[in-house]
């Protein structure tokens, strides 16, 4: 196709070939220049900056691996990374489990209008801003006046101090995050389920598989490529959580809900330690890359392609 078109252009006018050589670059210029300036240069700069001490006011000074050594020993940084990992494990497990269960339930025989309703309902929180969601959730989880404790009182649970205790705050941040984000995994699973041929289920039921056994032996293996994509995306997103803990708890009480991105923000823009902030960022990026690579490696053993 391309050779024929190039011949056509070359014969139509002299210099056509010449023009075609720079033409792709004209199409790419805005994206490549913008990405170079605002993404690639900053990536390199933040790695370089991680080896300097700099407060923006005085001149930067080279400190080797000092920033890394300091942030690794900083108890707040340590706690925030542990919090982030704990958050990722619990939030992602809840998000994927809920999304998968609801996707299977929606995908089985249902009146069309109900399916549309459920799909829209589960998708809905994705269009809201995490900041406004966190604002109204703060009121719902209020210890005295919140609707959550009011509802719990009906099943005999005494008022839970959600936002004033470390465990309560961590639970709220996770619940609010999962509430808003499970719809994304849900959509992925809906797509994955739709691609499983119905004959597979028919064959399974002829073999006597019913109910949850059918899902265990047919749905889960056939859905494993989707599950891989969904878990990679969910983990990458969860590792970067910021808006919810910032608005809900400001990282407190104590450091209970401080996350990795929150300490990047605080060390750079509150304490003006740009080198240390960059070092934390580099560590976070390395963790994300390592986890993603590990997932793809593991997936070779657990993902089945049809």
């Amino acid at each position: 196709m391309s050779t024929r078109r190039r011949n056509g252009a070359a014969t139509s006018e002299t210099g056509g070939r010449q023009r075609q050589r720079w033409l792709p670059w004209a199409f790419l210029a805005p994206t490549i220049l913008g990405m170079g300036l605002f993404t690639l240069v900053p990536i390199v700069a933040s790695v370089v900056l991680a080896f300097f001490r700099w407060d923006i006011i005085s001149a930067p000074s080279f400190v080797g691996f000092d920033n890394f050594a300091e942030v690794v020993q900083d108890p707040t940084v340590r706690v925030s990374f542990l919090n982030t990992i704990l958050f990722v494990v619990v939030a992602v497990a809840l998000q994927l489990g809920l999304a998968l269960a609801l996707a299977i339930m929606v995908q089985e025989k249902l009146p069309a209008w109900l399916r549309v309703f459920f799909r829209s309902a589960f998708f809905f929180p994705l269009i809201l801003s995490a900041a406004s969601v966190s604002i109204f959730m703060r009121y719902l989880f209020n210890e005295q006046f919140g609707v959550v404790n009011w509802l719990l009182s009906f099943v005999g649970v005494p008022a839970v101090p959600w936002l004033t205790t470390p465990a309560g705050s961590a639970a709220v941040v996770i619940l609010v995050y999962v509430w808003q984000n499970f719809g994304f995994s849900f959509l992925l699973f809906i797509g994955g389920l739709a691609s499983i041929p119905t004959e597979t289920y028919e064959a399974a039921s002829i073999d006597g598989a019913t109910g949850w056994r059918k899902h265990l032996h047919v749905t889960l293996p056939l859905l494993s490529p989707t599950t891989l994509v969904a878990s990679v995306m969910a983990i990458i997103n969860a590792l970067q959580v910021f808006d919810q803990p910032y608005v809900l708890t400001r990282g407190g009480p104590g450091d209970a809900t401080r996350t990795a991105v929150m300490v990047i923000f605080e060390s750079a823009f509150q304490r003006l330690e740009f080198g240390q902030a960059s070092a934390i960022g580099v560590i976070l990026t390395l963790i994300i890359m390592a986890i993603t690579a590990a997932q793809f490696r593991l997936s070779k053993r657990f993902v089945f392609y049809q």
Binding site: M1, R4, R6, A9, S12, R19, Q20, L23, P24, W25, L28, P30, T31, I32, G34, M35, L37, F38, T39, P42, I43, S46, L49, L102, K109, L114, F117, F118, A121, F122, F124, I127, L128, S129, A131, S132, R138, L140, N142, F145, V147, W150, L188, G192, A194, T226, M233, I236, Q240, F242, V247, V261, I264, F265, A268, S278, G281, T285, I288, T292
Partner: protein, 267 residues
């Protein structure tokens, strides 16, 4: 089936309930903000909280800022992604594969990691605390470029050949043949950009300083901070107002949004 529907209904109550509570509380007199049991159907809606939002918060300015930032990013992304996507899909040039891999790789690096150098760059070019500081860095889009490349690959290639045989230049072929056909793809890029940047909190928190440059999410969080837990109806009225544009886009672009969010995930 009945049991399954009941479970699904319970799940949707948990999802929609908090939003309905927000709506109904914003329509109650501020004194009844914390009333329990909560009324989910405000029979006598009271709009005083909405008046208060306009008095206490320069919400028109926030909406204008958000609309300007989001709109320019969306339009900018649509055009730059269409151009780049077309080049990657339909034009042959040296280093195409490598360059495309680099573009894809930038999606892996979290924005928070590069925020310090971006902040310094913005200061360096004299844009700090302006709306342009939010707009310019957000226009080049790796995901949009990827999406548009896929879209152009899906269009029949003989259209371009026919145009070339008729003597149309490659630019002319793009502008008159391919760009109009790619409108649905560009719409997905635009709607996704709207959804993401209308709700964005992290970058505006860092890149804007004065309240006159705040966007909606930032303004609402600062309003909540100013009021403490006092009159929550006012805060919630602001939250509801901020949802309206997102809801409109959701209603008109639901399918495009869904396709865009799940694009390239190998479903």
């Amino acid at each position: 089936m009945a049991g399954r529907i009941v479970l699904l209904l319970i799940a949707s109550v948990f999802i929609l309930g908090p939003v309905l509570w927000t709506l109904s509380t914003s329509l109650r007199p501020p004194a009844e903000s914390f009333q329990l049991p909560p009324s989910f159907l405000p029979l006598n809606p009271d709009f005083s909280s909405y008046d208060q939002v306009f008095k206490q918060l320069n919400i028109m300015l926030l909406v204008l800022n958000s609309a300007l930032v989001t709109g320019l990013i969306a339009v900018g992304q649509m055009f730059t992604a269409a151009l780049a996507g077309y080049a990657f899909a339909n034009l042959k040039f040296r280093g195409r594969g490598a360059l495309f891999s680099i573009v894809l790789a930038t999606m892996m690096v979290p924005a928070q990691v590069t925020i310090v150098p971006v902040f310094m760059l913005i200061r360096g070019i004299g844009l700090s605390d302006t709306l342009l500081a939010l707009i310019l860095p957000a226009i080049p889009t790796a995901f949009g470029t990827f999406l548009m490349r896929q879209y152009f690959l899906g269009l029949p290639s003989d259209l371009g050949e026919a145009a070339a045989i008729d003597g149309a230049s490659p630019w002319r072929t793009f502008r008159s043949v391919y760009a109009p056909l790619a409108m649905p793809g560009m719409a997905i890029v635009g709607i996704l950009a709207f959804n993401y940047h209308w709700n964005e909190f992290f970058r505006p928190l860092i890149l804007t300083i004065s309240e006159q440059n705040f966007t909606l999410p930032l303004g609402l969080v600062s309003l909540q901070g100013n009021l403490g837990t006092g009159s929550i109806s006012v805060v919630l009225a602001g939250v509801i107002l901020s949802m309206i544009p997102a809801l409109v886009v959701f209603m008109f672009g639901q399918r495009a949004l869904r396709d865009g969010l799940t694009a390239g995930t190998g479903k």
